[in-house]
């Protein structure tokens, strides 16, 4: 779980999922990285039991599965900036899906 929360990209995925469940495609719109990289992030989050995936037709919908303690740890890691190198800029996670 700590490994899953230590990566800024995975934390951004969780923050996006806080707003609403999203498909893999909708989530990918918020990131510049390649789809296989994102899939690897999704599988780490799934293994840590932080997200739940549901296959609907051809797309996979991800939804948040955080306990209160995990949610608090996510907020803490985000505030402290665990895993973010100095000077690194991240796109805001609050961007809405078109």
């Amino acid at each position: 779980m700590f490994k899953a929360l230590s990566d800024p990209t995975r934390r951004r995925i969780l923050q996006l999922l806080r707003q609403r469940p999203m498909t893999a495609g909708q989530l990918a719109e918020h990131f510049d990285c390649a789809k296989p990289t994102l899939s690897a992030h999704f599988s780490v989050l799934r293994e840590a039991d932080l997200v739940e995936s549901e296959k609907v037709g051809t797309s996979i919908t991800y939804s948040l599965k955080l306990s209160v303690l995990e949610d608090a740890l996510l907020s803490f890691a985000e505030t402290v900036g665990v895993g973010v190198r100095s000077g690194e800029r991240l796109k805001p996670a609050t961007r809405r899906v078109k």
Binding site: R20, P21, D49, E52, L64, K65, L66, V68, L69, D71
Partner: protein
Amino acid sequence: MIDRRTALTCVTLITLMLVAAVWRVIALDDWTTFTVDNGRALPSLLLFFFPACCALVVGALYWDGVGAKADDAKLQPWRSWGRSLSIGYCGGLLLLQGVLIVGSLGFIMPFDLSAISRGLGLLLAIMCLLAINRIPKLPWFERKVAPGGNLGPIYGPRYMRIQSWVVVVFMVAVMAGNLVAPRAMGWRAAGYILLATVLLVAWSLVWRVHLGRKWKLEQVTARPKP
């Protein structure tokens, strides 16, 4: 949410508590009060407080599952969660009541019973805290009868998550307050806790209705116009 078998187990534990309380009260000279090991007199009604708390919690958990609109796969995690919580809660309170009754019998004990009861109370509170901590991990399901109606897949999990957050913070505050508060405060703190609980329930209901309306409005605006 609990299944019938868990409910029956809990009812058996509650019956045991009631029998123990009635037996202790009948054996008293003065039915209104009983004396615990440190010489403190407590109201006899306190012995019925434990089964009442259990009945409230088990009843609420059972009622939660009555109007569930979901398939069995979604309800199964809720049932196992409810089973561990309800049996743990009833068993813990039965032990606590047992310690209180043994303490009132006047036996000379080699250990401090009040310390044991405080430890049991703390363990129970931690168990409840861990159970509530897990709620947002459980799948959201709609109920047939609920204030505000359906919340949908967006507002339902959000409501459950934030409500769990609030309850955990509230419980931590109550536990910290109980540990820090002077002993002289006694039962006066219970009144404040009760008031805060009522306010919490009222806020939760109002917020649920608000989210239900929001979801309904979104459904109406998303519907294609003819």
